[in-house]
């Protein structure tokens, strides 16, 4: 699913965001990506999405090599990924349903099916009563769930959630983490970056990877806070 061999990410300004990471993530894993602010979590997700390219080493995601030369195949790779980002990336002025449908439009499926799938995904995150609400009228927790619905409606092989609990209170954060964990199955891998290590006790922890200054300092089954 994901194979990283000695990957490094050095930004043009010289910042070494990731340094010599090697790991593999298999099908159906739930991975918590931990680490203090600035440790490189978002940078790693950007690499997995092909938004940045490794400056050294080798990275393959779902069999696709992440290199600058492969940008067109990487677009197609992204259609198999469900991204939930820190800023949600929802389209203002459009309602929840339209935002979720946007993720499906790219896949070339007929409009009727598109709408049915989008509604199903919104219902799954508990927003069946908010289909037609403009996203700017939704609470932060609801917006986060719309973003999750958009990601999962596409039945992705890989869900990448960057700080999905960022703006949420404890209850909502826990709810969102549980929701994301519930999408793990034999076909779908979920990777979540979070600062909220104190909440992880409440959810089934599978694997924890912890970064510090771009270096992997922990990679283990089970997520006991140290």
């Amino acid at each position: 699913m994901i194979e990283a061999k000695g990957i490094q990410l050095k930004y043009p300004d010289g910042t070494m965001a990731l340094n010599d990471l090697s790991f593999t993530v298999g099908k159906g894993e739930l991975v918590y990506l931990l680490g203090p602010s600035g440790s490189g979590k978002t940078s790693l997700l950007k690499l997995l999405l092909g938004l940045e390219f490794p400056t050294a080493g080798e990275l393959r995601v779902l069999g696709q090599a992440i290199t600058k030369r492969e940008t067109n195949s990487i677009r197609i790779l992204r259609r198999k990924i469900g991204p939930v980002s820190q800023e949600f990336n929802l389209i203002k002025g459009r309602n929840a349903l339209e935002n979720v449908m946007l993720g499906l439009r790219i896949l070339g499926i007929p409009p009727g099916l598109m709408e049915a799938e989008a509604k199903k995904a919104l219902a799954r995150v508990g927003l069946e009563h908010k289909y037609y609400s403009p996203v700017e009228n939704l609470s932060w927790g609801e917006r986060q769930r719309v973003a999750i619905a958009r990601a999962v409606a596409r039945q992705p092989k890989l869900i990448l959630a960057d700080e999905p609990t960022g703006n949420l209170d404890k209850d909502n954060a826990l709810q969102v983490l549980n929701l994301l964990a519930s999408f793990v199955n034999e076909d779908t891998t979920v990777i979540i970056t979070t600062h909220a290590t104190h909440l992880m006790r409440g959810i089934p922890g599978y694997r924890c990877m912890e970064l510090n200054q771009g270096i992997m300092i922990r990679d283990e089954k089970g997520c006991r806070p140290h």
């Binding site: 999405l49 938004l51 677009r75 197609i76 790779l77 992204r78 259609r79 198999k80 990924i81 991204p83 980002s85 990336n89 929802l90 389209i91 002025g93 449908m101 946007l102 993720g103 439009r105 790219i106 896949l107 070339g108 499926i109 007929p110 409009p111 598109m114 958009r150």
Partner: protein
């Protein structure tokens, strides 16, 4: 790419909505752009109709244009027929016709109209028979040269002077038409590419989201192409709305002033102009948005 086409087709409603939103967000800019494009297209249409009308004149006149050949008096009837056949073989000749003295008389009477009574002052028909020759306008000079050297010909009368003048007038209008076209194309492309750049900027976060979700370049670009075409086409429609009544008006006036002018029928002219303006505006809109899109990447 059938998959890409399918994706575009399934999302036509979405694209239309995107264009609507984009135009609404920058309504004044879009409106001003469409109006400016409409006005410059209208000016272009005026020059082009002038050009088309002058070309029409030339066509008509060069069809009517004739070289008249008067033969030596001692030629027999047979020899004149032979001469006519010989001339018919020359390059650039369209038609050779023998005009009798009586016909020449009637022709002049027709031209003089109410003043034809003057002709009655002559006891005998003052006109001589001649050969009327129609020929290609640009072949006049060599043909006249050759004719002057043929035996049996007394005098060649041509209206090269007037035709040459018309020719250079039409050439001038043609050059103006092309220059106008170039200027209009350039201006339209600048306006459209600029407005598309603004639209892209206004919706850069949405584009980012689409990139993140794996949208193809075509999917991302399509609404912007539509927007550019639509705004330019609005300009084309405005120009048409202005030029059609103008042509009709000018037509009526010209007909009042110079009833004998061989003007082309105004329906044909306006139809051709509308077709040109619509195709041109959509094409320029498309190219303009492509320029706008590629210059922001």
């Amino acid at each position: 790419m059938p998959a890409t086409l399918k994706t575009l087709f399934y999302n036509l409603g979405y694209f239309a909505k995107e264009v609507k939103t984009s135009i609404r967000l920058s309504f004044v800019t879009s409106l001003v752009s469409a109006v400016s494009i409409g006005l410059i297209l209208f000016i272009l249409a005026t020059v082009i109709s002038g050009w088309w009308i002058s070309r029409h004149f030339i066509d008509m006149i060069s069809q009517e244009a004739e070289i008249s050949i008067f033969w030596e008096e001692d030629l027999s009837d047979n020899q004149v027929t032979q001469l006519a056949e010989q001339i018919e073989q020359l390059e650039g000749i369209k038609k050779v016709r023998r005009v009798s003295a009586e016909e020449a008389y009637d022709k002049m009477a027709g031209m003089l109209g109410p003043e034809a009574d003057i002709l009655k002052l002559f006891e005998l028909n003052p006109f001589t028979p001649y050969l009327e020759i129609n020929l290609d306008l640009d072949k006049t000079e060599p043909v006249v040269d050759t004719l002057n050297r043929l035996p049996g010909i007394a005098y060649v009368r041509d209206n090269q002077e007037i035709l040459n003048r018309l020719h250079s007038l039409s050439q001038l209008l043609g050059v103006m038409g092309y220059l106008g076209l170039a200027a209009v194309a350039l201006t339209t492309l600048i306006i459209i590419s600029h407005i598309i750049k603004l639209s892209i900027y206004a919706r850069r976060s949405q584009i980012q989201t689409l990139e993140l979700l794996g949208a193809s370049k075509g999917f991302i670009a399509f609404p912007f192409l539509l927007e550019g075409c639509l705004i330019a086409f609005m300009g084309g429609l405005l120009a048409t709305a202005l030029i059609v009544p103008s042509v009709k008006l000018v037509h009526l006036h010209l007909w009042d002033l110079l009833p004998f002018l061989p003007l082309p029928p105004s329906e044909e002219l306006t139809l051709k102009l509308a077709g040109l303006l619509w195709v041109l505006s959509v094409l320029l809109g498309l190219i303009g948005s492509i320029i706008g899109l590629s210059s922001t990447r």
